[in-house]
C-alpha cells in the first residue's frame, strides 16, 4: 500500500496545531485513496509526544531525534525528510505552509526533482487524483491545480483544514539518522515573542490599524486579545510606524491568516490588508467612519470610537467568560 508522508512541526517542543490539521488531512486523503499515513517528527526530544499523532490519524510515526535537530536547520531537516522519503516511498508528501515548511518543502522538491504545490487551501480527490486549491494574487483569484509528478509534494496553509481526532493508535519507529551536514550555522535564536501566539496559528485575531494612534494605545487591543485568547494583528500602517513588529502584519506583504474570528479596530480595510484576512470565517469591524470600506465588507460592524468600543467589548467578554 502506498503511503502519505506528513512532515510535522513543533513550537517550543509541542506540536503546532497545524501539525494536527495536516495529519488529519492526510488521513482523509489516505482513506479515499486507500493509502497509509506516516507522520515524521523532527526534534531533539520528541519520542514521548509522537504517539499523540495517532489520535489524528497517523498509522505510523517516524521520529528523528538528535540534539542537532532541536532547532530548524534547513540542511539537516532536508536530509532527514529525504531519508524518510526513501524509507516509506510515499506518493504524497505534505508539509505545513509555515515559514519553516515553506523553506523546507522546496528544497526537498528540488532534490527529488518534482513539482511542489505550496500554500494549498483546498484538497480533494477527484477521480483518483488530487485537485489542489491555491490562492493567486493574494486571494483575488483561486486556482485549481493538478500535480503530475510521481511524488507529489504539497504544503497546506495553517488554520484552513480541520484537525480531527479519530482515536487511532500509531506505531512509533525511529528513523535511522543519516550523516548531518550543513553549510549554515545558527548563532543565536531570539524568541522576541516569547510564547506569543502567531497570527497564522490563532483561532481569533484582534487587529489594530492606524486608528489606534500609538504603540502605547495598543494596550487596549492586547487586553481584548487576552480575554479572547487571541493573537494581536496589525496593518502595515501600524508596522511602518513601528508600533508593532512586522511578524504581526497581516496582508499581501504580511501574513495570510484564516481564523474563525477576525476583529479589526481602526483599520480601513485596504485591498492589501483584505488580501491577508479575507479567508477569516467571521469579520468584525470597529471604525468611527461609517464610509470606511471595511464597514461594508465586515460581517458585523460597530460605527464608533474604538477607544470606547474596544474596552467595552473586553468587559462584555469578561462577563460571559466569568
Amino acid at each position: 500500500m502506498s503511503a502519505i508522508l506528513v512532515v510535522t512541526e513543533l513550537q517550543n517542543n509541542e506540536f503546532k496545531k497545524s501539525s494536527f490539521e495536516t495529519v488529519s488531512q492526510a488521513r482523509r486523503l489516505a482513506d479515499s485513496l486507500g493509502q497509509t499515513v506516516t507522520a515524521l517528527v523532527i526534534g531533539s526530544d520528541v519520542k514521548a509526544k509522537a504517539a499523540s499523532l495517532g489520535e489524528y490519524g497517523a498509522d505510523q510515526v517516524l521520529t528523528a531525534e538528535d540534539t542537532k535537530l532541536e532547532n530548524f536547520n534547513p540542511d539537516y531537516y532536508k536530509t532527514i525528510v529525504i531519508e524518510a522519503v526513501k524509507k516509506v516511498s510515499p506518493e504524497i508528501v505534505l508539509f505545513i505552509a509555515t515559514l519553516q515548511g515553506r523553506d523546507l518543502a522546496p528544497r526537498v522538491a528540488a532534490a527529488l526533482e518534482t513539482g511542489l504545490a505550496s500554500d494549498c487551501t483546498g484538497l480533494e480527490v477527484v477521480d483518483g487524483s488530487l485537485e489542489i486549491e491555491h490562492p493567486l494574487y493574494a486571494g483575488k483569484v483561486f486556482a485549481k491545480l493538478s500535480l503530475e509528478s510521481p511524488v507529489k509534494i504539497l504544503s497546506l496553509r495553517p488554520g484552513v483544514f480541520e484537525a480531527k481526532m479519530n482515536g487511532k493508535q500509531a506505531v512509533v519507529n525511529s528513523l535511522e539518522l543519516p550523516a548531518l551536514e550543513s553549510r549554515i550555522k545558527i548563532k543565536e535564536i531570539n524568541k522576541t515573542g516569547g510564547d506569543k501566539l502567531d497570527v497564522t496559528e490563532a483561532d481569533i485575531i484582534v487587529t489594530g490599524g492606524r486608528g489606534v494612534r500609538s504603540a502605547e494605545n495598543f494596550k487596549i487591543i492586547e487586553e481584548l486579545a487576552t480575554v479572547l485568547n487571541a493573537a494581536v494583528g496589525a496593518t502595515r500602517a501600524v508596522v511602518d510606524s513601528e508600533w508593532r513588529p512586522h511578524d504581526e502584519q497581516v496582508g499581501q506583504t504580511g501574513k495570510v491568516v484564516s481564523p474563525s474570528l477576525y476583529i479589526m479596530c481602526g483599520a480601513s480595510g485596504s485591498i492589501q490588508h483584505w488580501a491577508g484576512m479575507s479567508g477569516s470565517k467571521c469579520i468584525v469591524a470597529v471604525n468611527k467612519d461609517p464610509e470606511a470600506p471595511i464597514i461594508k465588507r465586515a460581517d458585523y460592524s460597530i460605527v464608533g470610537d474604538l477607544f470606547e468600543v474596544v474596552p467595552a467589548l473586553t468587559q462584555e467578554i469578561k462577563k460571559i467568560k466569568g
Binding site: 523553506d103 523546507l104 526533482e113 505550496s118 535564536i189 524568541k191 460592524s301
Partner: protein
C-alpha cells in the same frame, strides 16, 4: 564580489484581477505591472553593498514575456549594472520549472551572492530561492531582515515563527529578502537617463518538465452582506450576542 539579483514583474497590488475567457489565466488588459515588492528589497540591498564598496557588479535577471523589460529598466535606473531577460512565451505556475530555467543560466554566470525576494505577490509560491539552493548546490537563507557581508563571511538575521535567528554562512550563497531589510529607493532622474542608454540582454528560453499546472481559475466565493450592529459602546452587547448565537464563533 559579484551579485546577481533575481527579480520578478507582477501585477500591482491594487490591480483588479480578471480571469481570461480561457478560464486558466488572467487577462493582462489594463493591468499595471510593477517590480515584486520583495524583489525591490533585493535590488536595494545589492546597490547598498556596491555603494559600500563591497560589491563590484550587480546583474539583475528576470524571466517572463517582453513586458518584463520595463521592470529590468527600472532596476537599471535604481542602480544595477546589467540586466538579463530570460524570455518565455508561456506562463508557468510550476516554480521548479522556473527554478530550472534560472539555474541553467546562473550556472554559466559568475556570482558570489544571489539576492531575491522571499516571495512573489502573484503566485505566492515562495519556492525559487530554496530550490535554486539545491540546483546550484549552495546554501540559502530565507526571509532575511538584515544582511552583513564581510569578505566571504555572511551574517544574516532571519524571521522565524515567534522571533528571529542570527545565521552565519559563506559565499557563494542565496539570500531571500523580507520587508525590514531596507527601504528601497526610487530611481533618480539621472538613473533613468543612464538606464535609457543601456540594453536589456534577452535570451529565449522555455519551461521544461512542468509538473504543476492550472486547471481552472475562479473568483473567491462572495461574502454575504454584512450588517452594522449599531453605534458606539452601546452596540457591544448585541455584537457579542450575534457572535455567539448567529456566527457561533465565541
Amino acid at each position: 564580489m559579484k551579485i546577481i539579483v533575481c527579480l520578478k514583474q507582477v501585477p500591482d497590488t491594487e490591480a483588479n484581477i480578471k480571469i481570461d475567457t480561457n478560464g486558466k489565466s488572467i487577462s493582462e488588459a489594463g493591468i499595471k505591472f510593477i517590480i515584486n515588492p520583495y524583489s525591490e528589497y533585493a535590488i536595494e540591498e545589492a546597490i547598498r553593498l556596491k555603494e559600500a564598496g563591497k560589491a563590484e557588479s550587480i546583474t539583475a535577471v528576470s524571466w517572463g514575456p517582453e513586458r518584463v523589460s520595463e521592470a529590468l529598466k527600472t532596476a537599471l535606473a535604481m542602480g544595477v549594472d546589467d540586466v538579463l531577460l530570460l524570455k518565455t512565451d508561456s506562463y508557468s505556475v510550476d516554480s521548479f520549472a522556473t527554478a530550472g530555467i534560472l539555474a541553467a543560466k546562473l550556472k554559466t554566470m559568475e556570482y558570489d551572492l544571489i539576492l531575491m525576494g522571499k516571495e512573489t505577490i502573484d503566485d505566492g509560491s515562495m519556492q525559487i530561492g530554496p530550490m535554486l539552493s539545491e540546483l546550484l548546490n549552495i546554501p540559502c537563507v530565507t526571509v532575511v531582515t538584515k544582511l552583513d557581508v564581510d569578505g566571504e563571511h555572511v551574517t544574516v538575521k532571519r524571521e522565524v515563527e515567534g522571533g528571529s535567528e542570527i545565521i552565519e554562512t559563506s559565499t557563494p550563497c542565496i539570500i531571500t529578502c523580507q520587508k525590514g531589510l531596507n527601504e528601497p529607493r526610487y530611481p533618480s532622474i539621472r538613473g533613468v537617463m543612464m538606464a535609457k542608454k543601456k540594453q536589456v540582454t534577452t535570451e529565449q528560453v522555455s519551461f521544461e518538465g512542468e509538473n504543476l499546472s492550472i486547471n481552472k481559475l475562479s473568483y473567491p466565493a462572495a461574502r454575504s452582506e454584512g450588517k452594522v450592529v449599531g453605534e458606539g459602546a452601546d452596540a457591544v452587547a448585541e455584537l457579542v450576542r450575534l457572535l455567539r448565537e448567529e456566527a457561533k464563533v465565541l
